[in-house]
Amino acid sequence: MVRRTFLKAVPAVGLLTACGRSSRIKLALNWKPEPEFGGFYAAPYSKHGLDVQILPGGAGTPTVQMVGAGSVDFGIVSADEIVLARSHGNDVVALFAVFQNNPFGIMAHASRNLTNIGDVLKEGTIALQSGLPFARLLERKFGFSHVKVVPSPGGDITSFLNDEKFAQQCYLTSEPIAARRKGASVKVFAVSEIGYNPYTTVLAVSGESLRKNPDAAKALVAVVREGWRAYLDDPKAANQQMHQLNSTMDAETFAEVAEVQKPFIETEDTRRSGLGTMSRERWETLIGQFKELGDISRTIPAEECFRVL
């Protein structure tokens, strides 16, 4: 009896997997499910006939390599990662920029009475991902000779809470809220203060897929745009879904962060040209900064980095 059922099931499963393989779209995130990805979870994929699988990430998920290598169809990266990747021959292209302004910042204790980002580097400890361009721009501009540089704890604020002279890189929409919750009073400096402002939480695709099937990419971007609109209007449902997947952030924080991040996502530019829009000017500025840092040897044409669909 079991044998007969099994034999009947085999071709059926085969058919299903064959279907799945051809139409299942994989979208890799570069962090755990949090409000910064809200619109991707809120997007009505099945309504438009798309089968999308969102793959949560974590510290160090190499999304830009995964997209380039073809192990996922789409991935979330930041604009600076795209510039670097393209300079190494990795053909990835940006399609949709969720964060119009870079939400990276430095978080310090308010009791230090610091007035600008340079002050943070005058003493104490700072936790940074030293390889990131903004960290190196900071070093160039202010120098790290008076501050102890340690690796970024990746969202964990324990060291920060234990030491008044400890500052760390943060997402303006994330760690400061968690710190305030724990009773600390913090002062935050946006990295864009020093003029470094790449698009962040950018939906990217490999140049090859884009050339092969531009319509598929266009369809996905449209649904994503719808999803972000829906999330901005009402984040509750998507927040609940993400909270199930990421219990390290409580429901209240989800709601608070979703609110605080709005001005980064919806700006004058997006009201004019649509959510996720990108401009050539911004890309050119970014490429110029990389050239100055010496991270890329020759200028990359800005128009190859992104496509507005």
């Binding site: 021959g89 991902q129 990131l132 991270d295």
Partner: protein
């Protein structure tokens, strides 16, 4: 000399040449696997940085390893004293083996701060268990007739420990140390990911810069460090056990 160095060298050269060919011809993308020549160039270009990092990781892993060796042997001696003590405390020793180091490392930073002390702690946690397990096994597996001999002449438990059980356990102690050496390097690098410094930090930073050639260069140096430590233990083992067994004699 020729017999030990030449055989492993041949496949290494072969693989390197093949990798170079595959990357140059475009079969493998350079941002996924760097060409060996690129790795070599990265080593030359960043030699000062890499050398400093290597020295730092070496210090951290050696210190962690030494701590493991002494503490591990001491713990094994304590555990060997009675079955009751063993049953009560051995499970905790196993904990060192099974705890996922990458999860514990952030805790180590909170306790010990950012600096080489955390790297040493991490190397210790990663490498102490094999020393305990192997030393204990060696001490407990002393030949019963030899133990009888010591009893026959009224030897105290301490005399039996130092004159019989510990020396008899030496081959197994060295087995434990061999395994532990490599683990100490891994532990040090994991510690460096979280606490900064050394080759771990080079790997982490190069990764965020998408400098995969530099990542490979650092990883290669870390492997060389592990191999070096392993070789050192082997040398020590050979010198110590030289006159012992017929098997050691054959080498």
């Amino acid at each position: 000399m020729k017999k030990t160095l030449l055989p492993p060298l041949i496949p290494f050269i072969g693989l390197t040449l093949m990798a170079e060919f595959l990357v140059r011809q475009g079969f493998v993308r350079p941002y996924l696997v760097p060409a060996p020549s690129a790795v070599f160039r990265a080593m030359i270009d960043s030699r000062v940085e890499l050398l400093q990092a290597l020295l730092s990781t070496s210090a951290g892993s050696l210190a962690g390893f030494a701590l493991s060796a002494f503490t591990g042997i001491a713990i094994a001696v304590l555990l060997s004293s009675s079955r009751a003590v063993q049953r009560a405390f051995y499970p905790y020793a196993i904990f060192f083996q099974t705890v996922p180091l990458i999860a514990v490392a952030p805790l180590l930073v909170i306790w010990f701060g950012f600096g080489i002390q955390t790297v040493i702690a991490s190397a210790f946690v990663a490498s102490v268990f094999p020393v305990i397990a192997n030393t204990l096994s060696g001490i407990l597996s002393t030949d019963p007739p030899l133990r009888d001999l010591f009893r026959l002449y009224g030897a105290s438990p301490l005399a039996t420990l130092f004159k019989l059980r510990l020396p008899a356990a030496l081959p197994q102690v060295f087995t434990g140390l061999r395994v532990s050496a490599g683990l100490a390097v891994i532990g040090a690098i994991v510690g460096e990911f979280i606490a900064g410094g050394g080759l771990g930090s080079v790997v982490d930073i190069a990764r965020t810069q998408q400098r995969i050639d530099k990542v490979f260069a650092a990883v290669l140096l870390a492997s060389v460090l592990g191999l070096g430590l392993f070789g050192l233990i082997n040398l020590l083992s050979h010198l110590t056990l030289r006159r012992w067994h017929a098997s050691e004699q054959a080498e």
